[in-house]
């Protein structure tokens, strides 16, 4: 009860350490009369209040603005989901090394059915390029899930249609690793298609071919 009485009469004491401009500001804030009490706008214009205020902080900029702009900018449309790719941990990255790829013991390099390259292009560019290549080679494109594509080419060979899997991994936001491998079909046909058509067309995307 005592406290409420004091509030309504603006009976209070400032600690000695409070500088005069603070006491003055406080007096105007703790004014029991709402009509004469200082407004929010005026508080923000007060010189002591503005001292030390980090006006570079976006949030502060917006809250200081009396026109009440939204505190945060509207979220930029999220295109990343369209080509969301698996992201790598350090062990995944290490396992990319050609030193681990013992298939070289069994097959010649140019006969390998799985190739990898790194790209400095965004995932969406990589995906569009792959789709473009597929269309020009009359291959059907199926998107299995984010960051994965399957390309299918019907084939007259007894091995059935040629199926190529493309998988895109994010190393960092500016580097991606792309893995291309034949999942089914004739090996000779795959190699021919890859070496003659696919590889040259991909060149603009490629930062480095792994194993070369």
């Amino acid at each position: 009860m005592q406290m409420y009485k004091k509030i309504s009469k603006a009976e209070y004491k400032c600690p000695h350490s409070f500088p005069p401009e603070v006491r003055r500001l406080l007096k105007r804030i703790l004014d029991p009369n709402p009509n004469t009490r200082i407004s929010m706008k005026k508080i923000m214009e007060n010189s002591w209040f503005k001292k030390g205020l980090n006006l570079n902080s976006k949030q502060m900029k917006d809250s200081v603005n009396p026109d009440f702009q939204p505190l945060f900018e509207p979220k930029k449309p999220d295109f990343s989901h369209a080509s969301k790719v698996s992201s790598f941990n350090a062990f995944d990255i290490i396992s990319l090394s050609t030193g681990f790829d013992l298939s070289g013991l069994f097959v010649e390099n140019d006969r390998k059915e799985e190739v990898k390259f790194t790209s400095a292009k965004p995932a969406s560019d990589i995906i569009s390029k792959m789709e473009q290549i597929a269309t020009s080679l009359k291959m059907e494109v199926c998107t299995k899930k984010d960051g994965q594509l399957n390309l299918k080419k019907p084939s007259g060979s007894q091995n059935g249609p040629l199926l190529i899997d493309v998988e895109i991994f994010e190393i960092t936001s500016s580097f991606h690793l792309v893995e291309l491998k034949k999942s089914s079909g004739d090996a000779f046909e795959y190699r021919k298609l890859f070496n003659q058509d696919v590889k040259p067309a991909l060149q603009e995307l490629v930062w480095a071919w792994h194993g070369e």
């Binding site: 790598f88 941990n89 350090a90 062990f91 995944d92 990255i93 290490i94 396992s95 990319l96 090394s97 050609t98 030193g99 681990f100 790829d101 013992l102 298939s103 070289g104 013991l105 069994f106 097959v107 390099n109 790194t118 190393i171 960092t172 580097f175 930062w207 480095a208 792994h210 194993g211």
Partner: protein, 217 residues
């Protein structure tokens, strides 16, 4: 099948005899597959010197088609294959190590092998510095340059996930748990090529322990 003429039919001078049945019993390979591996081994071990053993240079040559490139990971694999640390891989070591990469090899063997691969200094733990060293080696190999900050944060993130006991290093138990959650980490530990090895390297070993009919040239 007829006579199949190829360079693999030349006799390899210094290859010691081997017990195919014993190797087959202790690995996922069949006797025929062991014999096919013998053919492959002969080819690989005679590319630089015909001493019946695969040296480091021959191993590199097989993987990279040249032995100029130094590769941390190929060196690790070589070291693991070379069980007795003789500096060369003999046929028994070759077969037994490749056995771990067979699709039918037990998962536990693969998990342990991968752990030993990454334990660069063979301390029994994967230390944070070793992980970073391997990431740097990979980036160097791929001509990728990432800022130290990015590399540090990548290593930190991975290490935090894997080092569940928080003691600054990954032990075998933590590794097993980590691999359980991230099975793709063992991708390199399986070589599908091993399933059709007899097709790639038809064996004409005279002392085949399995009855087959061949016409020898």
């Amino acid at each position: 099948m007829g006579c199949f003429c190829s360079t693999s039919s030349k006799k390899f001078k210094k290859l010691p005899s081997f017990d195919a049945a014993e190797l087959a019993a202790e690995t996922p390979f069949t006797v025929n597959e062991v014999e096919a591996l013998y053919e492959l081994f002969g080819k690989l071990s005679s590319s630089v010197d015909d001493d019946g053993l695969i040296g480091k240079d021959e191993f590199h040559l097989a993987l990279f088609r040249n032995y100029d490139k130094r590769n941390l990971f190929a060196d690790r694999i070589f070291d693991l294959f070379d069980v007795n640390r003789s500096g060369h891989i003999d046929f028994s070591e070759f077969v037994r190590s490749l056995g771990v990469f067979h699709p039918k090899a037990p998962q536990a063997d693969k998990v342990l092998y991968a752990f030993k691969l990454y334990d660069l200094r063979r301390t029994g733990f994967i230390e944070r510095e070793e992980l970073k060293e391997m990431v740097l080696a990979l980036l160097h190999e791929s001509d990728l340059e990432l800022s130290n900050d990015i590399i540090e944060s990548m290593v930190d993130k991975t290490f935090t996930e894997a080092d569940s006991k928080g003691d600054g290093r990954i032990d075998q138990e933590e590794w097993r748990e980590y691999v359980d959650k991230n099975p793709s980490l063992l991708k390199n530990m399986t070589l599908p090529h091993l399933m059709d090895i007899t097709l790639r390297f038809p064996s004409f070993v005279m002392n085949s322990q399995v009855e087959e009919t061949y016409t020898t040239g």
